[in-house]
């Protein structure tokens, strides 16, 4: 299978061998990954709870979005880099795990939800910036929480099968 051969080649690369062969690199990258993913989850949860109208109602939704989403983006970048390096070191094992693809699937759903919100719901923010959030914004916030929590649940499963 082409994907399997490719992932084994990645794992056998100099980078993969360096990370996989080191006693401290893998756990250090895991720790960085953990910091990044908790920051992604926490910052997006603040935004999602505001979109759901459950917390942070004292401030306009647009202010909450502007203040906390940069943390989500930078932390996601860090999670992607650290996660990519973890992946390279054991690529052959990850690509054999169904739950690893589920994790990627939930990330894709979260991305689609975020894109839909950004292009179609956020432009209408002036109408619900201070009052109760629009139904569409509530749905986007709820789905975002659900998808990101699912990413974490799948990610923990991935770690268990390593």
């Amino acid at each position: 299978m082409a994907l399997h051969d490719l992932s084994v080649a990645l794992q056998d690369s100099a980078l993969g061998q360096t990370i996989g062969g080191s006693a401290w690199l893998f756990p250090t990258l895991e720790t960085i990954h953990l910091f990044c993913l908790t920051t992604v989850l926490g910052s997006i949860a603040i935004v999602d709870l505001r979109l759901l109208g459950l917390a942070g109602g004292g401030e306009p939704a647009s202010v909450v979005l502007r203040r906390y989403t940069p943390f989500t983006w930078w932390a996601f970048l860090g999670a992607a880099i650290s996660g990519g390096l973890l992946f390279v070191s054991r690529a052959g094992a990850y690509t054999d795990l169904p739950v690893f693809y589920m994790k990627l699937g939930y990330m894709a759903l979260a991305a689609l939800n975020m894109a839909y919100f950004h292009f179609f719901i956020e432009p209408t923010v002036a109408a619900w910036d201070r009052g109760p959030p629009a139904t569409a914004a509530r749905i986007a916030g709820g789905l975002s929480l659900l998808f990101w929590a699912s990413v974490v649940v799948c990610a923990r499963q991935v770690g268990f099968h390593m």
């Binding site: 756990p27 720790t31 953990l34 910091f35 993913l37 908790t38 926490g42 203040r67 649940v153 923990r156």
Partner: protein, 157 residues
């Protein structure tokens, strides 16, 4: 101690946690989600004390909003962490990373509780003490960072 841990590991409840394959990963997933809640809420308060984020917002309002998330989150962490320990009693209690993690947790909880209590009685106190506020914020961030790091390294010692 070894005898006690061995006994815990053979109780019906511990054996149930060990034999249901989905239990431990699910408990740990909830633990990680609670870490996200607590770490982010603490970071929001610490970044405000440092004057980096929410600089225009009043500190008492932010403490009122985010401190309960830290309190309930730590409770959730304690429950899920305890369930983990019942399932694998020899893994954590004798581990030095775990012991240091608990020490750091006790200190940071006392600091956070002290801050919240002081804000309640004297709402303006920390706005007039920028240096102490910054020292407290850096200490709190460092302790939380250590707690998360130590938690991960328990698995490797």
């Amino acid at each position: 101690m070894d005898g006690f841990l061995n006994w815990v590991g053979h109780t019906p409840f511990s054996l149930m946690l060990q034999t249901q394959a989905w239990m431990i990963p699910t408990i740990q997933s909830i633990h990680i989600l609670a870490v996200a809640l607590v770490f982010t809420s603490a970071a929001v308060l610490d970044l405000r004390l440092l004057g980096v984020l929410n600089a225009q917002a009043r500190l008492p309002a932010l403490v009122h909003r985010f401190a309960p998330w830290i309190g309930w989150g730590v409770l959730l962490l304690a429950v899920t962490g305890l369930l983990n320990m019942v399932a694998e009693p020899t893994r954590a209690l004798l581990n030095h990373w775990f012991q240091l993690k608990m020490l750091a947790l006790a200190i940071v909880c006392a600091l956070t509780w002290g801050l919240a209590a002081q804000i309640k009685t004297r709402p303006g106190a920390w706005d007039r003490a920028p240096l102490q506020a910054k020292v407290l914020a850096i200490l709190s961030l460092a302790l939380w960072a250590f707690i998360v790091t130590a938690g991960r390294w328990i698995a490797y010692t």
